[in-house]
């Protein structure tokens, strides 16, 4: 008798679990997985991926007070939607909320806050620019390039210059405002460990400067160590 009761309870539990499964949501802002405290451009591009076995997916996006119905494109169990905010957001603190439901009407909620929109004032970097891997071996096939990541308060024309210890310029990479490297929020750019003349940097530490709209907003160091 006891065994029968346990089996029935387990069956009910499985049935109820299937009935309340929710879609999982993955959100990127301007191609980057955002985290609370990120900067948001005034006209962000938001990419949503909803994953469920019981499509279709319906969802709404709310940024500030603007509510947008999202339209998904299915690819297997993944449903893709892209929203572009064309009406520029005013400077301020925003919350991004996505509510999604699949065919079972089970709902998933994704909320990201705070997000900062800053268009006035000089651009700045939030935190120190960091390089990965560090130390960096340009000759390592697994990591032939180093990634340098930084978060900008707003979009800006950005120059990343890499110098030896005496300050001599090895290479300079420029990024336009709004594209990766010059976007508000997190940016990640790469360096191949070479000078502008194509020479591989020798062992040592190199300093990179992050210059946004002509102003130094961040600096960091990368160790080059060939093993």
């Amino acid at each position: 008798m006891k065994k029968t009761i346990i089996a029935v309870l387990m069956l009910l539990l499985v049935i109820s679990g299937c009935a309340f499964a929710r879609p999982t949501l993955s959100v990127k802002l301007n191609g980057v997985t955002a985290i609370p405290g990120d900067s948001l451009s005034a006209t962000p591009r938001i990419e949503i991926i909803a994953t469920t076995t019981t499509g279709p997916v319906r969802a709404t996006l709310e940024v500030g007070s603007a509510l947008t119905n999202l339209t998904f494109v299915q690819s297997g169990n993944n449903y893709y939607a892209t929203a572009e905010i064309t009406t520029a957001l005013a400077d301020g603190i925003f919350a991004l909320t996505i509510e999604a439901a699949d065919a079972t009407t089970a709902e998933a909620v994704y909320e990201l806050t705070p997000l900062y929109v800053r268009t006035a004032g000089d651009p700045a970097a939030i935190g120190a620019p960091l390089c990965y891997p560090n130390p960096f071996d340009p000759g390592n096939a697994a990591t032939p390039t180093a990634k340098i990541g930084y978060t900008l308060t707003r979009s800006a024309n950005v120059t990343l210059s890499i110098h030896d210890l005496a300050g001599t310029l090895l290479v300079k990479q420029s990024y336009a405002a709004g594209v990766n490297g010059g976007s508000a929020g997190y940016n990640a750019v790469t360096w191949d460990g070479r000078s502008a003349g194509g020479n591989v940097a020798g062992n040592g530490i190199y300093v990179y400067l992050l210059i946004a709209d002509g102003k130094l907003v961040g600096k960091g160091k990368v160790t080059v160590l060939k093993r």
Partner: protein
């Protein structure tokens, strides 16, 4: 021709530089040589020029041959943060000139720390700091041993460099070492233009790590330096100012440096220039202040491509200086007068004379000069120096003058010797001077402008000669044997009682004891001044020829006879002329000055004026004349 040689040598330097430099460039490495980026304020203030500038310890890094230009041991150092305060830069250079060349020791170092270890956040793909690992640090330094030497207008120098690099952090530690060689040369093309070339890491070289090898970057500089105002500022010579201009070209990358250094005075240097580096060009400004052997340098330079970088560069150097000091002690102070008119011992017939004179005090100073090189050495010498000082007051014959330093006065003269006394005062001292004037009433035929007025007047004063009753002297009249021997004997310090008895000795048939010159002739004969003729006669009234007169006076002056002369003393005399042995020593003794440039004409009558002139030159007579000028007393004269 000289210019062509200079061009050939300069071309050789360029070619040498290009060949070596190009081969070095082929090995261009990827690690940094701390000595190639010189952030010394003097050089930086001039836009980074240095290849042709010497005379500074920092030349060890810009062109070691330039160390030959230093005069004293020099020490310089600088330390600061670079690259927006991310890296530490230290430089030190020491150079010592010796007789074997200039030796130097240099150090340049770069260091950094805080290279953060990271990992990728799998959730966001973002780079995060790995707090479990230690941050990385890196030191890159070079020690340079330098030697340079001057070879005529060339200078050559070189550095042997030892590189040391260390890299460490969480989970890794590595060390790299290597050797490098610099060669530098300079050539002084002319007095205002120098050229220089510096070949840094000419052999390439590398830093060897545990698992890899990094090439050292070669770099060579070609430079010009010009003294725009000339080698010693002679083009605009005041305040010992100088203006130097320089131009450097870094090859093979093709960066240029342009700079000026202007020194309005010795201890101040104002600098400016344009410095080009890989990130762009920038203006530089600088100043150098030297005091007591130490120099402080400052440069302002905003590096292109590094916004927010601190643009201020400082350094302190010991450059040495030779400081000259004087220690003067007054040894003697003497009041003096320089009489511009009349000359001392003026002979005039005027009743007054215009006096013009300068008064001053002559200071004899015992002066010691000391050259001190602060902290190193001191050398000195001592000698006497004469300077002058203005008089406070002056008097002419006890009458004060308005300007004691330059004054005039009219002074009355009486017949005979006149002395104009001058008296001057200066702080702590008094002194006097005098001018002597002989006022005469000249004979009718010997005015004061007569060529032999001085000997005639002085011989008259000394009582040796007299005029004729008609107030003439008849200077051109030939003097007789009796007259001349009388004059000569009168010059001797003989008492009358010794001389008078001689008149009774009749040794010549034509000179009776009553002859007016008998005693003088006898005495003159006894002394060997004159002799008689073979017929026993003296011929006292015979006029002397010039040769006879000079011979007589030479014997009187006791001049040694000169025989065996190869050349006659005068062109019109024959070599075997009998009187040459008297004429030659008389000429050498200065007794025949009045015949200088003339023929001797030995047979000419020996005039009274000539007799006075020649007699006046005899030392004995000169001495008596001087005594008279000094005292106004005629001494040792025969009545």
């Amino acid at each position: 021709m000289k210019l062509n040689r200079s061009i050939i040598i300069f071309t050789f330097i360029c070619y040498f530089s290009l060949v070596i430099g190009h081969s070095a460039f082929a090995l261009n490495g990827t690690t940094v040589d701390p000595g190639q980026n010189l952030f010394a304020p003097r050089q930086l203030g001039m836009g980074g020029v240095g290849a042709a500038f010497g005379g500074d310890a920092n030349a060890l890094f810009t062109n070691p041959s330039g160390l030959t230009g230093i005069e004293f041991p020099q020490l310089t150092s600088a330390s600061r943060k670079l690259l927006a305060d991310e890296t530490q830069y230290n430089i030190f250079a020491w150079a010592v000139p010796t007789s074997y060349g200039t030796f130097g020791l240099g150090y340049a170092g770069l260091g950094v720390s805080g290279s953060l270890p990271t990992y990728l956040d799998p959730a966001t793909g973002r780079i995060l700091i790995n707090p479990s690992q230690e941050a990385g640090s890196y030191d890159n330094s070079v020690i340079a041993l330098s030697y340079s030497r001057r070879l005529s207008t060339f200078t050559l120098g070189g550095n042997l460099k030892l590189f040391n690099q260390a890299l460490s952090g969480g989970g890794y530690s590595d060390r790299g070492t290597g050797l490098g060689l610099d060669l530098g040369a300079g050539y002084k093309m002319n007095h205002w233009l120098n050229v220089g070339a510096n070949l840094s890491n000419i052999l390439g070289g590398s830093i060897k790590w545990a698992n890899t090898e990094d090439k050292l970057g070669a770099n060579y500089k070609l430079g010009l330096a010009a003294n725009v105002l000339g080698a010693t500022g002679e083009a605009l010579n005041f305040n010992a100012q100088s203006l130097k201009a320089g131009f450097d070209l870094d090859l093979p990358v093709g960066l240029y440096h342009l700079g000026l250094e202007y020194s309005p005075v010795k201890n101040i240097a104002l600098r400016g220039g344009i410095n080009q580096e890989a990130a762009g060009s920038g203006l530089t400004l600088g100043i150098g202040l030297t005091n007591n052997g130490f120099r402080f340098d400052y440069a302002y330079y905003q590096r292109p491509g590094i916004p927010g970088d601190t643009p201020h560069y400082f350094s302190l150097s010991y450059v040495g200086d030779r400081i000259l000091t004087y220690d003067r002690k007054l040894k003697k102070k003497e009041v003096k007068f320089r009489v511009l008119h009349p000359k001392d011992r003026l002979i005039t017939d005027l009743a007054e004379v215009d006096l013009t004179a300068e008064g001053y005090a002559e200071l004899l100073v015992d002066q010691k000069r000391t050259w001190t090189v602060p902290g190193l050495s001191a050398t000195s010498d001592a000698f006497n120096v004469t300077t002058t000082e203005a008089l406070l007051a002056a008097y002419v014959n006890n009458r004060p003058v308005a300007d004691p330093n330059l004054f005039t006065a009219k002074e009355p003269l009486r017949d005979g010797r006149n002395v104009i006394n001058l008296l001057g005062f200066v702080s702590g001292e008094a002194g006097s001077g005098e001018v002597r004037v002989l006022r005469i009433t000249p004979f009718k035929d010997t005015p004061v402008s007569f060529w032999a007025i001085e000997p005639i007047a002085l011989c008259g004063v000394l009582g040796l000669v007299y005029g004729y009753p008609d107030d003439t002297f008849k200077p051109e009249r030939g003097i007789t044997r009796a007259e001349l021997v009388t004059v000569l004997v009168k010059t001797l310090p003989i008492r009358a009682e010794e001389l008078t008895p001689l008149a009774s000795e009749e040794i010549f048939t034509d000179v009776s004891r009553k002859h007016w010159a008998a005693k003088y002739i006898v005495f003159g004969n006894r002394e060997g001044y004159v002799t008689g003729y073979q017929d026993g006669k003296f011929q006292p009234n015979k006029v002397l020829t010039r040769a006879e007169g000079i011979a007589l006076l030479a014997r009187y002056a006791k001049l040694a006879e000169e025989t065996g002369l190869k050349e006659p003393p005068f062109s019109d005399l024959k070599a075997d002329f009998w009187a040459n042995k008297y004429i030659e020593p008389a000429k050498k003794a200065g007794m025949l000055k009045y015949l200088a440039g003339k023929e001797f004409r030995p047979a000419e009558p020996f005039s009274r004026a000539e007799a006075c002139e020649v007699l006046y030159q005899v030392p004995n007579i000169q001495k008596r004349a001087n005594e008279w000028w000094d005292t106004g007393v005629v001494s040792a004269a025969h009545p």
